[in-house]
Symmetry: D2
Subunit: 346 residues, 4 copies
């Protein structure tokens, strides 16, 4: 059985495991105050070309989203997001459990756009704010989104300008950021993202690490006491250096980009072949998640050897499946899979 | 200036004020454990023809909604409601502040229907539940809804059967319940509602009381320790007898129904005349809130003498306004208003 | 049966009921934006001799405590209070339910003092703060306290200076403030309190109103968006003018002070007589709550005609009981009670 | 610099790193549903000699404490614990952030005992419960405690019987459980603990793992939907198998006990020598944390080569320091340290 269902089916890139072994017997202080974390933070600041940002390391995505949102918002404030956004759908109400409302915008492609966001903001703040409603104080986007789509530099700059206009925060969830940056369609960099968001994070869990997300804070109001928020939300790893060591490895000599480029290369092979085979895509994703429409019989046939993520039904006989690649995807498996797809479709 | 904007512009029905005066110097124990509260609860049990229900008195609507939802749900559980529902729109994220997600269904008329609810429930529970999503464990409806619409007996029974099928609670917000029961289209009674919900409340604030909502609990799982929930949510009035006295007055000899009938009579007069004048209704409401589409110039003209609730824009020149009646609406004001509307439209 | 167990056994001072009746049919906008609330706020500002304070009206004490604390604190911040403080003991964990830790100081008399508070603050902030602990960011005191004791002007100024030194808020719960101000030992005024706290409130529920607490905010950081907090915590009364009307009545011509003086006069009579009779006091309270130690047989005998609040056991044969007076206490009842106490003790 | 300040200064036991490497390229499903987690759970069930318990794996201690407490309690319920307990002191108010009050008992040795617990429970439940107070519904203990002390079998059975008597849960925090079980004074086993608690956990972070805590649930009311709680609290690791692999390694052939025995052996050497040197102990700890009183000059001298945890001041010239051993403590370092202590004291 070969897994194409998601991008976190293996452990970590071998370089990370090696580094964990090499540093294993070092004695360090805990909770992310060690030299590895400091070094990793320096590497990320360099990558963002910005010394003024704060960098923190957390373990997982839900935890990171909740910690950032709860750190930034007051109890009566909510966060604008796509109805399909991870925080709205797949976090078991964790944002609400920390007290904040997700103010949703319907989305077909996982992205949200200026007009709908502006409408919410202008309606709320028209007369200085309506205290009978949750106050929209943050815009949450993910890049890539749940549907693998990405924002352009122009779009991100537009959203950030809108947020500044209304005094709300822009937060970018980068759980799969590496794959976004490696997309052919991408014109963002970490530096541009750091300039055009108030806070974002660089995903490690899905991009080569055992686990870990690096939060980058630009806005001065979100910086103070952020570690209290991490601790309270259960995200402060006792052996914090495990996060530092992993992000050191990813950013010391470009491994993060290398890993992502490999995944995107595997995706390109799959997308090109599926396109040739006439397979229809549910959404045009330029990143490492492909959403394709297959007949149920083809899916059944493929499922004996391959694990795919079953998404929504299209009609009685067709279903959307997600096909993911990652740093760990082997070209030989891709080749075998595509041959089997061809067989299943013929 | 005459107010038609909402149904809580005056104080209380005179009979209530009189009773508060008459009982003012009685010494009672606090927090709703006094004889007036006991008596009022007995009256409501009789009205529901059900001795097994629990009755509690709270001060206001937001407080009541949050207390009931938080008492019934576990932290990871959410409540299904109309996107236009009061808990989703007009409670400043109070439900989320107590940790629970509102799982929304788009609605044009304020009501939600079996197919959309069933889809959410069947999707979630298909394989025993998906722990990555908030667990839908309650259905919230209001009757009348935010748009003045009401549920029929058949609809309520259908929703309750669906809820029982999936083991979720049905909660009916009756902030304006009196006006719903007094509607010509209504075929519900308090008894039927008590039989076909797990918990509901009888609104006093908008139906003749100074304030107060009477919660009726049928489901045994929501009953235990409910007073702890009231207290924790700040809803336990020190001089609880004020609530008991008010609901005694409302239910001792049918004042609640009488009040509501008066309001509906005033509404009928308004609706009939507006219909004659060719005014369009944004939604067909059979209760005490009318949502009518007027030209902005007519609205401007009327606004010198009347306070109306300005709702959404229809187009550049037309807007929806809400016209409410209540126990306190005077027929002479209705007559004057309708004459002025006629002038404004001609 | 005559009640001396607490100070909220009757309804409201007759002047308040009269004013509610007189204004009953006025049509006003809701939620505390009406002219009565504006006027009442002006009266309180005048009383505090301070135009820069913000004044808000809420319904009850638990609600008020939670709303103020939650408005002022970030999620990881806690509030220092006496272990016996109302927020720590008698609010069913409402402060914790809004996410904040009560950081307690043992107290014999209900008060907390500078040394213990300073120890907590200096320990925490010694090295810029310890993110593994809840951050103490507010000091909560009540005046009078749970044991009827009060703070002097010098003490309050000392606490406020300490709070300013550490950048934490000072919050004074004045649920029984009237009785504190009317005490012979008191040297505080509303003006002094407003100058030496960041936020406090003037209790109405226990001092002549049907219900209601007037929050006075001095610190600029707590002012913005305070109404969102009120609404979210279920404290925004639809017919907000009921609060305005009550506080207008209390502060228009000194009724608040008059009521309190009457209660203190009644208390003095009780205290003097009990002292003559050799009754021991559990704590020396200069306000309207007396905590006296009586034999269980005396308590049993008195309980046939009087309701007293049974507090803690002293030993197998003695118990502390609370005796309260209020605006509504009748001198004839006091006389009868004291005669019966004398009989019970002889 | 050699670290004796805590028991999580290194990475993981080498056997764990090896196993992570060996399994690194396996493809598994995520979130703890993989075969390694299943196998690890089976091993723990066998160790507890109980097939009916549920076993879950979480990342860290704060997260685990909060998840368990929030899963077990209703919003108005609180948890009884030592004032010195980890949940009360060192989790940045995380328990309160999830809405629950810590109801504290002063403790000199980190333990809580039946009389004080019984007093809280009997006071609260005397008349069926007092809804003005947080309802005590769980007793939290840790073993070893914050001061390294442990509970005997008889004590644990006594506490559990008390909890059953009042219908409250007994929760044992075993972050350092291995060192407790390896103590010479210990007469507990995992089986006995599983029989005499409703829920407990086996700490990995401090006992040889990179991270990870294994929760064992005995009480049927805490079992349902526990994974929703994990997910909502951000504790569901995407690559859950990392936890399974680590606990497999720890429990497959007794590594957990072996590690703990080593640490205790190192502690015995230190304790014996310090006792010979006349060093005073702040508390008698039979586990891997020693709390010793040293002169400030001795501490200063030792601090050039050794990292010790500085605890509380005893007087102007003496301070309590914590000395910890772990699976990773090297005997040669212990020898060197003790020689240096001897020098510092002479």
């Amino acid at each position: 059985m070969i897994f194409f269902n998601c991008d976190y089916t293996e452990g970590a890139h071998p370089a990370i495991l090696e580094r964990l072994s090499a540093t294993n017997m070092e004695q360090t202080i805990g909770y992310g105050m060690d030299d590895h974390c400091k070094h990793a933070a320096e590497l990320i600041k360099k990558e963002c070309n910005n010394e003024k940002i704060d960098v923190h390391f957390l373990v997982g995505g839900t935890q990171t989203n909740v910690t950032v949102i709860d750190a930034a918002l007051k109890p009566y404030q909510g966060v604008i997001c796509a109805a399909s956004g991870h925080i709205n759908v797949h976090e078991t109400g964790a944002v609400e459990a920390s007290g904040h409302k997700c103010i949703t915008i319907p989305s077909m492609d996982g992205k949200i756009y200026e007009p709908e966001i502006r409408e919410i903001l202008s309606n709320h703040y028209a007369n200085g704010g309506d205290e009978h409603m949750a106050q929209p104080k943050m815009v949450y986007i993910s890049n890539p989104t749940e549907y693998g789509t990405i924002y352009s530099k122009a779009e991100l700059e537009g959203l950030y300008a809108l947020c500044k206009e209304y005094g709300v925060y822009l937060f970018l969830d980068g759980a799969r950021l590496g794959y976004g940056l490696a997309s052919k369609e991408n014109d963002l960099t970490l530096e541009i993202i750091a300039q055009n968001t108030d806070v974002f994070y660089i995903g490690g869990t899905k991009v080569g690490a055992l686990f870990g997300e690096a939060v980058v804070i630009s806005h001065d109001d979100i910086k103070p006491d952020f570690r209290y928020n991490i601790k309270q939300h259960g995200g402060m790893l006792a052996k914090g250096r495990l996060l530092g060591v992993q992000f050191e490895t990813l950013f010391e000599s470009g491994l993060y980009y290398e890993i992502s480029a490999h995944a995107m290369h595997m995706t390109e092979i799959i997308r090109d072949k599926l396109t040739c085979l006439g397979v229809k895509f549910f959404v045009q994703s330029p990143t490492n998640q492909l959403f394709v429409i297959l007949s149920n019989t083809a899916i059944a046939q493929l499922s004996t050897n391959y694990k795919l993520e079953i998404m929504d039904k299209v009609d009685a006989e067709h279903t959307v499946v997600r096909i993911c690649t990652s740093w760990a995807t082997k070209e030989e498996n891709v080749t075998a899979f595509l041959a089997d797809v061809e067989r299943a479709l013929s």
